[in-house]
């Protein structure tokens, strides 16, 4: 496999996707709550883990090689899905730990607590976001919680989250006697992080090419555990990048996860235009 070393040869999203795809092992459902993680599920199924199950819109285990669609998403799994599943069955898969999940949190702290609900005090919000959604379920049931953050900053990596939707390591977890759903891997646009089991604290695992340790420290709102030797994150291979761009996500849905609001409207319009050309 040929690797690409120059930074211009892949987008930050493509590095994230490549790294996320490598975490998805076993006969599991690739639970995708964000566009980057949807691409990662498909990349993993195509290249590394044929047993991985792609599921969305009530359709179970369809062919990942079909290009991702935007507004036509619900029609894509037709023809190759093995089953229709209900939400009750979906949670049955969560309870039996059959899901590998990737969440894009608004905030994640040093103990891996994650927040997607609110900025500020919940009762007196500075900014209301979307609500806790499935995080309080996943973080007490699944094998692990994985996160990806496309804009690593002191705001997205605070010392303590404003509201705990997914419970990380620490006192709250111990007091409640929760064993499952511990924080697993965090992939940001700067590096890859995991957690030290003993202290429950976030630890730098690798730095992405071209990123310095100073930059990571500067943009993190707490003190990270830093190992003495820090490897470089393996960049995406040419094969991965080609597959992402040409086959899995030719529309460019992966860029929606960190699209600035100002550019969103135009980008969505272009997406729909491209989609109508691609699928009709």
């Amino acid at each position: 496999m040929q690797t690409t070393n120059q930074q211009e040869e892949y987008a930050p999203e493509e590095l994230l996707i490549s790294r996320m795809a490598k975490e998805m092992k076993g006969e599991m459902v690739g639970g995708a709550a964000t566009y980057c993680s949807m691409v990662a599920v498909k990349l993993a199924q195509s290249l590394y883990n044929p047993d991985l199950i792609d599921m969305s819109g009530g359709l179970h285990h369809f062919d990942s090689r079909t290009p991702m669609a935007f507004l036509a998403a619900e029609s894509l799994g037709r023809g190759s899905a093995k089953a229709r599943v209900t939400w009750e069955e979906l949670f049955g898969m969560v309870f039996r730990q059959k899901f590998i999940v990737w969440v894009g949190p608004a905030q994640i702290d040093q103990y891996g607590n994650a927040n997607i609900s609110v900025i500020g005090d919940w009762n007196n919000p500075k900014a209301a976001l979307i609500g806790a959604r499935g995080l309080p379920d996943d973080s007490v049931h699944l094998k692990a919680m994985n996160y990806h953050v496309v804009d690593h900053s002191k705001r997205s990596f605070p010392a303590r989250v404003d509201f705990v939707c997914a419970v990380g390591f620490g006192e709250a977890r111990e007091k409640a006697g929760v064993r499952d759903g511990c924080p697993g891997v965090v992939v940001s646009n700067l590096g890859v992080f995991d957690f030290d089991e003993a202290s429950g604290k976030m630890r730098l695992q690798s730095l992405h090419p071209g990123v310095s340790i100073e930059e990571v420290k500067e943009k993190t709102g707490f003190e990270l555990l830093i190992p003495s030797k820090i490897p470089e994150t393996e960049p995406p291979t040419k094969e991965e990048v080609d597959l992402i761009r040409k086959q899995i996500d030719p529309l460019g849905l992966r860029f929606l996860d960190r699209m600035p609001r100002a550019n969103m409207k135009d980008y969505l319009c272009q997406l729909i235009q491209r989609e109508s050309e691609l699928f009709k």
């Binding site: 819109g57 209900t86 949670f91 919000p125 500075k126 979307i130 995080l135 709250a172 409640a176 006697g177």
Partner: protein
């Protein structure tokens, strides 16, 4: 709803007009809304509520979208029970956001499974359901319908989720027949559970069909007539949300909504132009 002389062999006909929805819901009722995010939301039914003077509603939704946002923006909600409210890829829900920040409404936040468990308890006519969801999270601090307890078997900490028994479920389906079978061709979300939990269910359907048509694909039937109280034919009834395979979400209308909902003043104009008519 008819059993006239000479019609003894006729099955119940639950067809009703959109306007007659107003007589089925009272101010102060608890309603649960089907669909999820920008998918198959019961927009025609919700818009009809906004045209009525029904208010002070307790609204329950696992995954809220423009349905909840519209009711909040029109000032009809007293209490909202939810796991999520948003416009999926199109962003945050503007009226939800404003109402949260202005604290005008009572908000009860749960998780997806906490909402499912609450409705499941309602459907089973029991006071609560035990779950592990929420343990260690801040939901236990802010949601008064959750109580930690020790399992009588094994001594594990669990959470009791208080039952929700909605007065009315409002659901949008692809096909329904006059007796009240409802077929959903895409993702069903929690619609079948909402129907089982609510005291009565009202369906809007893209198309009302003969029962023969339902019999052709019984696996598509998501809602049993046992739960259905009324059937309203409403083509395009999911509004600008998607209704597979009839139509995809309408991005330009979504963007127009988001733009118009960016301030209270603008949204009053939006309601007048698009909903109150």
């Amino acid at each position: 709803m008819r059993e006239k002389e000479g019609e003894k062999d006729k099955v119940m006909d639950k067809l009703m007009s959109l306007k007659s929805l107003r007589a089925e819901i009272r101010s102060g009722d608890t309603i649960v809304l089907g669909g999820g995010g920008l998918v198959r939301k019961p927009m025609a039914l919700v818009e009809e509520l906004v045209r009525s003077d029904i208010t002070d509603l307790t609204v329950v939704t696992v995954l809220g979208g423009p349905d909840v946002d519209l009711l909040l923006g029109a000032g009809r909600v007293k209490k909202l029970i939810y796991a999520y409210v948003g416009f999926d890829f199109a962003g945050l829900a503007p009226n939800f956001r404003r109402a949260r920040e202005e604290k005008r409404v009572e908000f009860v936040e749960g998780s997806e499974y906490i909402l499912i468990a609450a409705l499941e308890a309602g459907a089973k006519e029991i006071p609560f359901m035990p779950v592990r969801s929420g343990l260690g999270s801040d939901l236990l601090r802010i949601n008064p319908t959750l109580k930690e307890f020790i399992s009588p078997f094994g001594g594990e900490k669990l959470v009791a989720v208080k039952a929700i028994r909605p007065d009315v479920a409002l659901l949008h389906v692809n096909y329904a027949d006059a007796p009240g079978y409802g077929q959903i061709l895409g993702d069903r979300f929690l619609d079948p559970l909402c129907a089982r939990a609510a005291k009565k269910t009202i369906l809007s359907a893209e198309k009302v069909v003969e029962t023969k048509k339902i019999e052709e694909q019984p696996a598509d039937t998501a809602i049993l007539k046992l739960w259905t109280h009324g059937v309203i034919e409403a083509p395009g009834g999911a509004g600008f949300t998607s209704c597979y395979p009839n139509y995809a979400a309408d991005l330009s209308r979504i963007q127009d909504y988001l733009e118009q909902a960016s301030s209270k003043e603008k949204f009053t104009g939006y309601l007048e132009k698009n909903v109150l008519r």
